[in-house]
């Protein structure tokens, strides 16, 4: 299982605002695929998927603002259990 963290994308700020998720829990995803759209101090950007597998859980929903380094989702094999908190 892979914890996906919000990358540091901004020029001056650590914060990123999640605009929308482009995939939903249970979807198969692959490396390089756009997962979500975010807005930073710099621009609107896509965050790409860093692993192959199934999107097990979205931790940070759309319309939330998170710091770089925050776990935003988990990717893994179907049926794997996701850590709570």
């Amino acid at each position: 299982m892979e914890a996906i963290i919000m990358p540091a994308l901004g020029q001056t700020s650590e914060e990123a605002h999640i605009l929308e998720w482009l995939v939903k829990e249970g979807d198969e995803v692959e490396m390089g695929q756009p997962l979500l759209n975010v807005e930073t101090d710099k621009a609107e950007l896509e965050v790409e998927c860093v692993a192959d597998g199934v999107l097990l859980k979205i931790v940070c929903e759309a319309e939330t603002t998170v710091n770089a380094g925050t776990v935003i989702a988990y990717i893994g094999e179907p049926g794997e259990s996701v850590p709570t908190e």
Partner: protein, 695 residues
Amino acid sequence: MSQSTNTLQQDALSAEESLHLLEEMVLIRQFEQTAYLRYLQGEIPGTLHQSQGQEAVAVGVCSLLRTEDWITSTHRPHGHALAKGLDPAAGMAEIYGRETGCLGGRGGSMHLGDPALGILPSIAIVGGGITIAPGLAHALKYKETDNVVVCFFGDGAVNEGAFHEGVNYAAAFNLPVIFVCENNMYGASTPFHETTRNINVASRGAAYGIPSEQADGMDIRAVREATERALLTARSGKGPVLLEFLTYRYVGHSRGDARGYRTKDEEAIWTAKDPIKTFGAAIVDEGIASEDQVKEATKRAKKRIAEALKHAQQAPWPDPVAALAPNIIFGNPPQKVEGAGPLEEGPDEDRYITIADSIRETLHSELGTDQSLVLLGEDIGVPGGFGGAFGVYQGLAEDYGRHRVIDTPISEKAIIGAAVGAAIGGLRTVPDLQYADFVFEAMDELVNEAAKQRYMSNGKLTIPMVLRCPVGATQRGAQHAQHPESFFMHVPGIKVLCISDPYTAKGALTAAIRDDDPVMVFEHKLLYGAKKRQEAGSINTRAYVPEENFVLPVGQARVRRRGKDATIVATFTELYKALELAEKLSAEGIELEVIDPVWLSPFDWGTVMESVRRTGRLVIAHEAHLTGGWGAEVSARVSDELFADLKAPVRRVASRDIPMPFSPPLEAAVLPLAEHLETAVRDILSPDHTRSDKE
């Protein structure tokens, strides 16, 4: 400029070959993409310079090379290294900074390499490899192989002086180097066309009289065709070739580059030429391979990178102690030595010789015993020429031939770069600089390359070379007078030898030549005793020197005179002033101990500390400038370690911090004089040791 394309009948690539090339390109793309995404996840330290979009150049060129051929690469080396055979796991672990990385984590993303695979740890100084490649090629040619060196660099590098010196040097000596410029139109964010009037890099080949051509770097078949022609030239002894491949990097210069200096339209034009997609489609269209086969090749490459990633993520961090391992810093790490005593008298009147003669004898005899030794320099072997700036090389070319005593262009960067490259290729060289002042021309080759290659290669390379640098003021003004030895004491990885007498000249120079590390030898013009070049102020340093070569320990100081009242540590002319002063004060019952450190690095701390512990007093004397001179380091260490033993402050006598003027009375006003030394010694011997000279 460009050669006709039909000199070489290229057979169509087989399905197997085509799929292999495709797989190798995908391997690089996937390596880069994976590293990029993992970097964003915070798993990779530092930064990354990546090569997505440039895969056809790396794979096209390297797929035609042998393991025994070498490549030099740049700050953007991932593709080159993988294409030349680096295991992706070793590459990924290296950029993760892990112990199992190809260089044990000493290099990282900008320094991938493995000498066993012919991949020089890549050089992150723009243009840095261009002066190294010719020397490496020289070694391959000297050993009578037909192996070649491929030197990769970007468009940014062609406006470096290194490009001019390196390409000209390779051309002058017909060396088997293929210079490969990956013109991706930008150096960092600056468009290439803003930096030069001549944006056609290939056309610059004409300036050096070498064949060159420009080709589409997005088309692996075009890359291979151009490379095959170049290899034909280089392998057959016809010398270097310059290739320019037009290409594009799809990503930012390094991490954190949002590419705001490029237009989306421009990026789209180049995205349409994607070297992987176009080649994959072409081989399917042409019926060379099936779509399934292309998919399979892609899958294989991705699987290899997935495994490499897993390896890197799980690999251990290096043990911090490994950073300090002496045998990684030096091929021959400094040993504990016992200081030598005063020079001995010899039985044979004829064997009292000058420093110049002693150096000549040493080189003559080492050339005779070591076939892998060559001398490099300006005016050293030309028949009827100078025999070196101070006549030291006279007769050597006649005895050993001009392929061993090599006259170079006036290209200091290229000379030192060639020495570093030749060392990597297994030769030993003694490059000569005429005047030490010229060393500043080649600081990059010395400090960034010679001093670093062993460490950066994780101890896989040794860089034996002995750079001769004549120093000292001899009424020639500010640019033929300097003492740069102190600069190099500051550089880990370089050894620094100062020759002040003929006996040490032979023993220490022999040791330096046989040593596996870069040694800079400083020799004072007024101490040579060369018949041809008598200078005002010359000092007679003749001493007994045995005829046969012998080796003195590296890092050994010499106590020239023993005494109990105060210690003087001095080099070159100041050493002789100190010996004279000791003689004079001896008549007054004051006994000075005079030490010639001989080596500034490694420094014989044991001998100096032992002496000062006994005498409790120290004066350091050198012709190098006072501020930041090597005496400052000695003073600091002695004051720190022997604070309780010192009976007076440590004093330094040196040239004033002023450029050396020409006119004799002006020169004398800047140089340290015998009276300064005497005053300093009398001061520290006086009961209140107050400073009596007025600065």
